[in-house]
């Protein structure tokens, strides 16, 4: 059940008040995609993830909030350029403005994520070319110093595959495979490698990638663990304490 509330908010940057539809609650059912795109119904709330001041164009999750960094970006040329993005969809444009802000602030992962959200809007609008272009644009935010984060690289791997950037996707998959990531990361990378090999750029969910790949059984308990288990069992009186018998 998704619920919205209409609220009058005062813009952090220009101080003018405007009405906005604020997401109050939503649920989701099913598995997210391999780029963490949420399942329905939450996915359909994407239009309310960012707000935009109709007077000055300030974009934020809540336009009545901000900080010195946000204000600095708002006063920059980068903001003006991003606000004039020719994208016809206002939701896409809001994500791109947000991505520009994150890039301006040097937060490349967050810039990548905002651009990826813009690609999801194109996915929902059934615009595969636009979506692929936005995915490549998202990936460009991560160029530069090597990324160590598993989470970011798994997202990037899906982004590159979905954008048919096969060489880059293959290189990243090889890099991740060499790291012995363990469950469930290794299984997801293997799934991607199979899809890259057959040049498959389709959308898949995490549960599809992990289908028939159950988590490995936990290692057998060591002698020390067994002693601990016995102690706990004694404590909860499953086994009588030998000292008391």
């Amino acid at each position: 059940m998704t619920d919205y509330s209409t609220q009058k908010l005062q813009c952090y940057c220009c101080g003018k008040a405007s009405e906005h539809s604020v997401l109050m609650s939503s649920n989701s059912r099913g598995s997210p995609d391999l780029d963490q795109r949420p399942p329905k119904m939450y996915r359909w709330t994407i239009g309310s993830w960012l707000q935009e001041c109709p007077y000055c164009g300030y974009v934020a999750p809540s336009i009545d909030k901000g900080d010195a960094k946000a204000r600095k970006f708002f006063e920059s040329d980068e903001f003006r350029v991003a606000s004039l993005d020719p994208s016809p969809d206002p939701v896409t444009r809001r994500f791109l403005v947000r991505a520009a802000q994150r890039a301006y602030q040097g937060e490349r992962r967050l810039a990548f994520l905002s651009t990826l959200s813009a690609a999801w809007v194109a996915d929902d609008a059934n615009q595969p070319t636009e979506a692929a272009s936005l995915r490549l644009r998202a990936a460009r935010h991560l160029e530069g110093p090597r990324i160590t984060s598993i989470d970011t690289r798994l997202l990037l791997l899906d982004v590159l595959r979905r954008a048919s950037s096969w060489e880059a996707a293959e290189a990243l998959a090889v890099e991740l495979t060499a790291e012995e990531l363990g469950y469930p990361f290794a299984e997801i990378v293997a799934f991607h490698r199979d899809k890259i090999a057959v040049r498959d750029d389709a959308r898949y969910t995490i549960s599809q990638a992990l289908e028939d790949k159950p988590p490995p059984p936990p290692p057998p308990p060591t002698a020390e663990d067994q002693e601990r288990i016995n102690a706990i069992a004694r404590h909860i009186k499953i086994i009588p304490n030998p000292r008391r018998t």
């Binding site: 598995s31 992962r109 984060s149 989470d151 970011t152 798994l154 469930p184 997801i188 995490i206 990638a209």
Partner: protein, 370 residues
């Protein structure tokens, strides 16, 4: 009898009593010597029966004021003695001071405050409060109801309330203190600002044991008081000043102590910005802030946790690579010095970062379907 000195001195004192009579200066002198010896190397509580006898004889011979020196000496060294044993002597000293200097004298007020502080150390808020209220009443007569002296004592009452976790009482005292500070120094004075900041910390702490509704109300009061207090401190010292940093840090720690990370988070981000400007982007002084942010985000916001955590470890690595890493408990005069690890009241940054990293790994596995 546990005192070794008493065993050897009492026969000598008995002899003096026989020679000069039990109420004599000679007996007082011998008792005083015994008390001094006990104070020098034994438990001061062992001297109590001899002190009692000594001051009784002295008082009957030379009047109450003559025993002040004996009381001062013993009370001054009886800091570790159970206050229930000490209190009768301090009450006696208070009675003498009241008689000598007047019921409403500064001396009587000081003695009341000293007794109050000892009861506070003993954990008895109601007795501490009774004596501090008497102290405040005297100070009001001496200096006027709206005086610095009265405000200082009201602050002491609030501090004792907070120390003994009597949050409601501490809140009431701080309200009283704020009113006084606003009257004496002005509504936008530094003193009023500091009292508001203290009130905010007390409100946050008082939310700990409350039910959801009351807890929310206390936190809202904390937020309001903190915003007002910080506004005054910013106005007086500047937005990036050390005073503002200290205020933010104190409030952050209070929120974190109450498990209110999301109340602390905007303050952590603000302090991080100030510290980046003051100490540098990769200064070790940022580490505790990054560690707390990472720990908080790791539980709920994987997206935000990773970059903060990575930055925290990167700053830690840079710090460990410097030639002479230094640890400071105070951040005063550390502007621009990147090699100083700052740790006020925070726990170890390495432990916090590693715990955050573990939480994040667990949550990442869940996020990716495990």
């Amino acid at each position: 009898m546990a005192s070794l000195y008493a065993a050897s001195h009492l026969p000598h004192i008995a002899g003096l009593e026989r020679r000069h009579g039990p109420i004599s200066d000679e007996v007082v002198t011998a008792l005083r010597t015994l008390i001094k010896l006990i104070l020098r190397s034994e438990n001061p509580a062992e001297a109590i029966p001899f002190l009692d006898r000594c001051i009784s004889i002295q008082e009957s011979l030379h009047g109450p004021q003559s025993i002040m020196g004996d009381l001062d000496d013993w009370i001054g060294r009886a800091g570790h003695v159970d206050f229930k044993l000490v209190e009768p002597f301090q009450l006696r000293r208070l009675a003498i001071k009241s008689k000598l200097f007047g019921e409403n004298s500064p001396e009587a007020a000081g003695e009341c405050e000293a007794i109050a502080r000892r009861w506070a150390s003993h954990g008895d808020y109601s007795r501490a409060r009774a004596f501090l209220e008497r102290n405040i009443s005297i100070l009001e007569k001496l200096h006027g109801a709206a005086s610095i002296e009265v405000a200082t004592s009201v602050d002491a009452l609030a501090e004792i309330g907070a120390r003994l976790t009597k949050w409601a009482e501490a809140e009431a005292s701080l309200q009283r203190s704020l009113h006084l500070k606003e009257t004496i120094f002005g509504k936008r004075s530094e003193q009023a600002g500091r009292t508001l900041l203290t009130s905010a910390i007390v409100h946050a702490n008082s939310s700990k044991l409350k039910r959801h509704g009351a807890r929310f109300e206390r936190l809202r009061k904390a937020e309001t008081a903190f915003a007002s207090g910080l506004d005054i401190i910013e106005e007086r010292f500047g937005p990036d000043s050390l005073e503002v940093q200290k205020a933010l840090e104190a409030m952050i720690l209070a929120y974190l102590d109450c498990g209110e990370f999301w109340s602390a988070e905007p303050l952590l981000k603000r302090l991080l910005e100030i510290c980046e400007r003051t100490y540098g982007d990769d200064a070790a002084a940022l580490l505790w802030i990054l560690a707390e942010l990472a720990a908080g985000y790791a539980c709920e916001r994987v997206d935000e946790a990773e970059p903060v955590l990575e930055r925290g470890f990167a700053v830690l690595r840079t710090f460990l690579d410097v030639g002479k890493p230094i640890f400071h408990r105070s951040i005063v005069n550390m502007a621009g010095n990147r090699n100083v690890l700052y740790g006020g009241r925070q726990k170890g940054v390495l432990e916090t970062l590693v715990q955050a990293s573990e939480t994040l790994r667990g949550n990442l596995r869940k996020r990716w379907g495990a």
